[in-house]
Structure formats: C-alpha cells, structure tokens
C-alpha cells in the first residue's frame, strides 16, 4: 500500500506531499486542478511510463513546474548561477514483506527514515554541462530536456529498469483510446498480471509450436519454389520461416474481444469496465494499485452503478484505488470519507466525516455534494423560491449573479441540511445557510444548529413576528400593492395567499421584475456575510 507520494517540480506540483489511505481514494477538483497530473505522476514513478509511452521518450520541457522554470530564468537573467530545475517523484510504501528489496533510506524524509519506496528524478545530465549552459545562455524560456537524464531508483538506491514485479499497477483511463487495438502498455501489463505463470508459459509454448507448424507445413512448398531461384549470393538458398524473436510473442498477436467485438472497437464505457474487471483479477503476490480516471465517462447511469459496485469489490481485496471524478454520484457511492480535494496543485489533507453522514450519502447518492466541495463559497437554502430570491437580492446588491463571485447557491431538502453542513465544516468551506423558522422560535432554531456553526459557517433565519417561512417574511416588509403589481395580481387577490400557493412562480416573477423590492433582513445579512 502506498503511504504517501511526494511530487516536486512536476507540472502543477511545486512541492506536494499526498498521504493516501487504504482502499479507495477519490480526487476531486476543478478542471486543470492537477488531479489527473497526480495520477500521471504516480504512474510515471511506478511504471516508468507516461501515457503508455516510456518516460525517456516522452520527456518534454512542459513537465517542469512553470513557476520554478520562470524563477530559474529570472534568476539567471539577474546573473545568479542557480542550478537548472529538476523533477522528483517519490512513492513511500507501507511496510510489506513483498517490498523489502525496495527498502532503504534514500528518500527525502527528514530526519532520515528508511522504508520501502521508489523514486524517479529528472535531472540535468552532468556529462553535458557545457551544452546545458550554452543552451540556457540563449534567449529561451524552455528547459533543454535533451541534456537531461531520468534516474529511476528504489529507496535502497538500486537502479530500476522496469516496473518492479512486486508492484502491480493498473491504469484505467476511459477518456481516450490510445492505440487502434485499444491495447496499450497498461492494459497489456494488466493482462499479464492476470494470467498465472503456468498459463503464460503454456500460451508461449503453444504459440511457438503454431509458428513452427506454419514453417514446416505451409511454408515448405513456398520454400521449395524459392530454392529454385538462381543467382543468389554464394548459392545459399532463400527460404521463409516464421519470426521467432520475442518481438513476435503471443502477447503481440492476441487482442482482447468483448463478445464478438475487438476491444478497440467496443464502447469506451465497456473498455473501462473490462479494465476494471482485469484489475480485480490480478494476483495478490504483488502490491496492487489501480488508478481510475473519471469512471463516470461514457457510461449510462445503470452501467456506472455496476461499475462502482465492481470498484467497491476491488477495494475490499487489499488493493489500493485512486480515482478521479467529476461526479457527485461516484463520490457519494464510494464514500465521502475517501474524498481528497485538489485545487491548483495543492491536495487537501484527508477529511474525517462521520460514518453516519458517509452512509447517508451512500444511500442517497443523487445529492450534489461535489458542488459544496468545489465551490469556493456556498449558500445552502431549502427551496427553489429561496434560491431564486437569494440570487435576485444578491444582484440588487452587487449587480452580478452570486455564481460569478464563486458563490454557489444550493437548494437542499431540510433533512439533509446537517449532512451538508458537516461536509462544509470538514472541508472548511465558507457557508451561509438560510432556514425557515417553521414551527420553531429563533432560539430553538439557533440551538438546533449550534454544533454546526463556526466563524465561517453561519445560520441566517427570519424573525418569528414576520412569519414562519420566506413568503410571509417578504410580504411582511413590502407594501401589499407593490407586491400585487410585481406579481401581476388583480386587486382582489391577496399577495401572501397567492405566494404561499405558487411559491416558485412567485419567486420567478419577483426575480424577473425590474421593480425594486425590500429583502428580508436575514437575506441581506447572509449576502453580506458570504461576500465578506
């Protein structure tokens, strides 16, 4: 099991240490937040491959953290002789009998600590000192990667040349198909990890004999004809035989099929599902790690449900899973406790959410928990009319919709309020929540939420004398005639009665009307709080 990863100088990550837990880890974040880069960095250090290609062939100047690169060139421009930027990715493993050979003290932990682990470092190659300096002298802002070297070593300081067999890594990425057969490096190594030694040996022997039979049975006539060719050098005979090099082993000749359809031509959702199946079937002799990118892609709701069930099963079998997602459904189903928030190259520490709340959202995975997680500020309201009016009153104050200020107004049912507040609290999200008094008094409602309010999470509610819900609160402080005209009511209709019967429609009419309207005091307070 991976205990932690430290990434320095790689893309978004200037210097980040991410602690992982057993089982499932879910990384969520905005686009470009770095969550895919995190998995990419892990795949790089664990397999030596990036995007299914050998790292040394893929190395390019954009792997380097732009901040560090800019600082380097700025320092050089000032005449400071700072050294060229480097990249370092380290994976620390939990103590494991299978990983002893990777154990040693060559890691960046201080004070010196020994454990199993591997690291990859991308450094200027000292053999090319002159070339490096000549390159940097030129008017460039790019790192001369052609004069860099990649050092892949265990914490025991042994050079690693291919993925250590003690570690099995499954990279499942449903975003793109990389090869026409759909079989990339990761899938091939997963297939290999799935078959037993005996099965692989059997296949390899059988394939060899098929090739031999091809030579003796079918190529012999051709060879007889070829032998008749005159004028060959030294009178040596020309003949054809099957290629027996390892390049043409059975692995290169087989391709997985789904039903009757070749893997590469199957739907992407299906491909992902197959890869996850394969990841599940890997043997336990190695430490198993699976990385799954956005499992929700290309899948219908029903298929996604099946897939998540499979993922849950893998995680129960001493496999470590790292998942990125944009879906609240995925997050809720797999457990909010697995949530790791990534924003702009920073990964937030693990959250501690009560088991109660975790299982609440597992049972009701439709809730949009990710909106709370990803918004910079959150306003929780309990009905569509509250949501509409909050935005209207906000616009009245600031001239723009709240979302443009990074404020997400989320409408949730009364019962799940506390669950969302708990979530907001553990991820330290600034949150205003607006509640109707209903049958409570002010003090009763305050007491009810006392455990959830902090300096950044605050309850806003009306006053009993103005009514138990939003509509009476609005009507209490606005002129009846003005309301009637905003709502487009005839003089015989009572605005408050109409509003109570047509809550959402009333809110919409108010929101769309240009006429000014007085906002309830607690709305104004909430707007001021959330904007502060």
């Amino acid at each position: 099991m991976i205990e932690k990863v430290r990434i320095r100088g790689y893309r978004k990550f200037r210097d980040v240490t991410v602690e992982l837990r057993e089982g499932i880890n879910i990384f969520v974040g905005d686009n470009e937040s770095g969550k895919s880069t995190l998995l990419e960095a892990l795949a790089l250090v664990l397999t030596g491959y990036v995007n299914s290609r050998v790292a040394s062939e893929e190395l390019n100047p954009f792997w380097f953290n732009t901040e560090i690169v800019d600082e380097f060139f700025a320092a050089r421009a000032e005449g400071k002789k700072v050294q060229l930027p480097t990249i370092s990715i380290e994976v620390f493993f939990k103590d494991d009998d299978r990983l002893q050979r990777l154990r040693g003290a060559h890691n960046s932990d201080l004070p010196t600590r020994e454990c199993s682990g591997i690291k990859i470092e991308i450094l200027p190659n000292n053999d090319y000192g002159a070339e490096l300096e000549a390159f940097v002298e030129k008017d460039t802002e790019l790192i001369p990667v052609e004069f860099y070297k990649i050092e892949w070593r265990s914490f025991a300081d042994d050079v690693i040349v291919r993925r250590p067999k003690e570690i099995s890594v499954a990279v499942i990425d449903s975003r793109t198909i990389r090869t026409s057969s759909g079989v990339d490096y990761y899938l091939r190594s997963m297939l290999n990890d799935t078959l037993t030694v005996e099965q692989r040996t059997q296949l390899s022997v059988a394939y060899r004999s098929v090739k031999e039979a091809m030579t003796t049975d079918h190529l012999s006539q051709v060879n007889t004809d070829l032998a008749a060719l005159k004028g060959l050098y030294d009178n040596a005979k020309l003949s054809l035989a099957m290629d027996q090099t390892s390049r043409t082993s059975w692995e290169g000749a087989v391709t997985p099929h789904l039903g009757m359809v070749p893997f590469g031509l199957s739907g992407q959702g299906h491909q992902a599902a197959v890869k996850i199946m394969l990841a599940m079937a890997r043997h336990a002799e190695s430490a198993r790690i699976a990385m799954i990118e956005e499992p929700e892609n290309h899948l219908s709701h029903t298929s996604l449900n099946k897939l998540l069930k499979a993922i849950e099963e893998i995680s129960g079998e001493d496999q470590q899973l790292l998942i990125t997602t944009h879906s609240s459904f995925v997050l809720n189903r797999l457990g909010l406790d697995a949530l790791r928030l990534v924003s702009d190259g920073v990964v937030a520490p693990m959250t501690s959410i009560s088991n109660d709340t975790i299982s609440y959202f597992k049972k009701l995975p439709g809730y949009d928990t990710l909106r709370v997680v990803l918004a910079s500020k959150v306003v929780l309201v309990e009905g569509a009319s509250d949501e509409i009016l909050f935005s209207r009153f906000y616009r009245d104050q600031y001239g723009v919709d709240p979302i443009e200020c990074g404020i997400d107004v989320i409408c949730i049912r009364g019962l799940s309020f506390k669950r969302f507040l708990e979530l907001a609290k553990v991820i330290n999200r600034k949150c205003a929540f607006l509640r109707d008094l209903d049958k409570y008094t002010e003090t009763e409602l305050d007491a009810h939420y006392a455990n959830y309010t902090t300096t950044s999470i605050k309850l806003f509610r009306g006053q009993v004398q103005h009514g138990s819900t939003l509509e009476p609160q609005v009507s209490a402080i606005n002129d009846e005639g003005k309301l009637r005209s905003i709502l487009g009511l005839s003089t015989t209709e009572s605005p408050i009665e109409w509003m109570l019967k047509n809550k959402t429609e009333a809110a919409l009419r108010i929101a769309e009307h240009t006429e000014s309207i007085v906002a309830p005091e607690y709305f104004l307070e909430a707007i001021e709080f959330i904007n502060g």
Binding site: R103, G104, A105, T112, E114, F155, A156, D157, D158
Partner: protein, 362 residues
C-alpha cells in the same frame, strides 16, 4: 535449542562447496537463498555448480562478501551515516585513511562517492550502528537462509558484521576450513587482528562457548589418501582441537603416498608423473624450469599428484630440525591437500627423514 547459525568446519577435499550446492538443490524450488563467499574464483565455482545442480532454483543468489556489504547494508542505509551521500563506485587501491575520523565520510568515501575497499567493512559496521540495525530486518525478509562459504577468509570488521548476523536469528550456514586460512579479505585491517587467518578459530570457539553458534566438524576427505591426510593433520597440533581426518580415498595407483625427490631427479619425476608443481611465491625456485603454481593460489584445486618445492622453514621442518609458524603450516596444508594420490617434496640431503626417497627407474 539449536542456534540459527551453524559452522561446519571441513577438511580439505571434504566437498565443502558441494555440500552447499547439494543443500540448495534439495531446497524447495521457491526457496530464497543467498550464498556468500569472498574470492571471485569461488564465486565463479559456485555459480557453475549451482547452474549444474540447482539450475531450476531461481531464488538462489551468489554474491561476493563485499558486494553483500554494499548491497544490503551500505548502499540502502548510507544516509543514516552520511546524509545525502550515495555510493557510486568501488575504490580498490586507496590505502588506509588512518588519519580520518571514524565518523567522517572521508574515511570511507572518495570525493566522487566511491567506497574505499579497505574501509568498506568498517563502513558497513558504522552504517549498522547508525541505522539501528534495520538492515537485518530487511535481509531476513528477503532470504530464507544465507550460506557463507570459505568463512575463514573474513577478518577485521567483517567479523563484527558476521557477529551481528549470527546474533540476528537469521538462518546462517557457514562452511570453512581454518587450516586453509591463507587468504584474508582485508590483511591491512588492524581491527580483530588476532583473529585473522587461523586466529578465526579462537573467535568461532568463543561464539560456540557462549552458545551463539554450533560447530560441527566434517573430517572425511574424498580427495587425499590416508598418508597424505595424516601428514596434513600433523601440521596442526592437538591443542587446536581438530578431529583426525578420515580418508575415503581407497583408490590405489602405481605411485601413492609421500615421497622426497632429489633435485637432480625432479625433471624426470615431473615428466613421469605430471604433478602440479607448487612453490611458495614468484620468488621461489626462480632458477628452476618448471611451470609452478603458488601454494595459496592452488587453494580449491584438486589434482592427482603434486610436487612441492619447499621453503627454507619447510625444509627444516621436514628434516625434523624446526617447527612452522601457524601461517606457514596453513600454507603447507593447502599445498599438501591438493593431491589425491601422491605428494612429493623436492629436497636433498634428508636421509634420516621418515619420508622415503623416490628412486628414478623404480
């Protein structure tokens, strides 16, 4: 309780190395076995034999003693001793850095991170102390058993490391022959000097007394005929506590046992019997036209016949005029025990000697 560490003291020709090879061949196929020995010759011999008899065991690794110190102690855990240093090579020739402090990296490492051979065992010991012995846990989880062949070659700080290994509870099987202690990993090392060469016998007996190892003696030789074996035995007095060698070689040939050869007859003798001709070193017998092998270098060889050019002390010893030092005895022991059927000494004027002269034409 049997100790986890066992020493088998084996006489020349007792198939010491083959014993290790046989145990490996009989081990479960997935056994994780490490075999250590000091000399390159013996490593190659072991590799060849393991390849022949236990080629289906993929968990067997053969390593030199120094490679072992580097791979399992110094390289992985060096940062505990010297933060941010890495091992990037091996320096054979640098002389002892006796003016560098034990705690200073300059004692052990060159500027370009090569470890000095001369101080490698001490560095291993220093790293052991600094890393709190954690290499032992790592090692014990990588291998099921560790064999050390020709263990008598170890000296200096090697013995400190070996002592720690023995105390660790890791299954250690050592094989060696004290009487053949003519090579040392680090002859210039002052540490444990009294235990160098044959002195290691005292070291082992102390460990046995304190219950840390058990010693068994394997006294059967499949090589040397009884006359040769008992001559070799007599080189070490009873104080050593070595059991008498039992010869299993009952083969007879036209010329068996021990002989003296007059200098003038040597050429004829060598032509007739084609023995391996042995000398002490390149400086011995320079005027003689024979193809020599040095005593020490003959270690490990097995031949039908040998012809030995004695050193001055050996000449006196054969004539009954003097005794040999322990080191001289060990060298002679190696030379004598190469032969299966016959050993001849080139020596004039020794008519009183118990060993008969060979008569040309006989």
């Amino acid at each position: 309780m049997a100790s986890a560490a066992e020493l088998t003291l084996a006489v020349a020709g007792s198939r010491k190395t083959q014993g290790i090879v046989d145990q490996c061949a009989n081990a479960p196929l997935d056994a994780r076995i490490l075999i250590l020995t000091y000399t390159t010759n013996n490593q190659n011999e072991l590799k060849a034999r393991i390849g022949t008899y236990a080629g289906d065991h993929y968990g067997i690794e053969i390593q030199g003693w120094f490679a072992f110190l580097i791979k399992h102690i110094v390289r992985p855990f060096l940062p505990f001793a010297f933060h941010d240093r890495k091992l990037r090579g091996f320096d054979f020739y640098t002389l002892p850095e006796q003016f560098q402090r034990v705690t200073s990296p300059t004692r052990y490492l060159s500027n370009d991170d090569k470890v000095f051979r001369i101080h490698l065992p001490q560095l291993a010991y220093y790293v052991h102390e600094k890393c709190d012995g954690c290499w032992l846990d790592r090692l014990s989880r990588i291998y099921d058993v560790i064999y050390i062949d020709e263990v008598q070659d170890l000296c200096g700080y090697d013995l400190e490391v070996l002592k720690i290994l023995i105390a660790s509870g890791i299954k250690i099987r050592m094989v060696g022959d004290i009487r053949q202690a003519v090579i040392a990993t680090n002859p210039q090392e002052a540490k444990n000097r009294k235990y160098m060469f044959t002195g290691i016998w005292t070291w082992f007996r102390e460990l046995e007394e304190s219950g840390q190892i058990s010693i068994t003696q394997n006294c059967e030789t499949w090589r040397c005929r009884p006359e040769i074996a008992s001559f070799a035995d007599a080189l070490f007095g009873p104080d050593w506590g070595f059991e008498a060698t039992v010869s299993k070689n009952t083969r007879t040939s036209e010329h068996d046992g021990l002989y003296l050869i007059k200098r003038n007859d040597a050429s004829e003798y060598i032509d007739q019997f084609c023995p391996l001709v042995l000398r002490h070193s390149a400086n011995s017998g320079r005027k003689l036209p024979y193809t020599f092998t040095n005593y020490k270098e003959s270690k490990g060889l097995s031949v039908r016949r040998t012809c030995i050019l004695p050193t001055k002390p050996i000449e006196e010893f054969l004539k009954g005029n003097g005794t040999l030092t322990v080191q001289q005895s060990a060298e002679l022991y190696v030379a004598v025990t190469r032969a299966e059927q016959s050993v001849a000494f080139i020596l004039d004027d020794c008519d009183t000697c118990a060993i008969p002269y060979w008569n040309p034409g006989s």
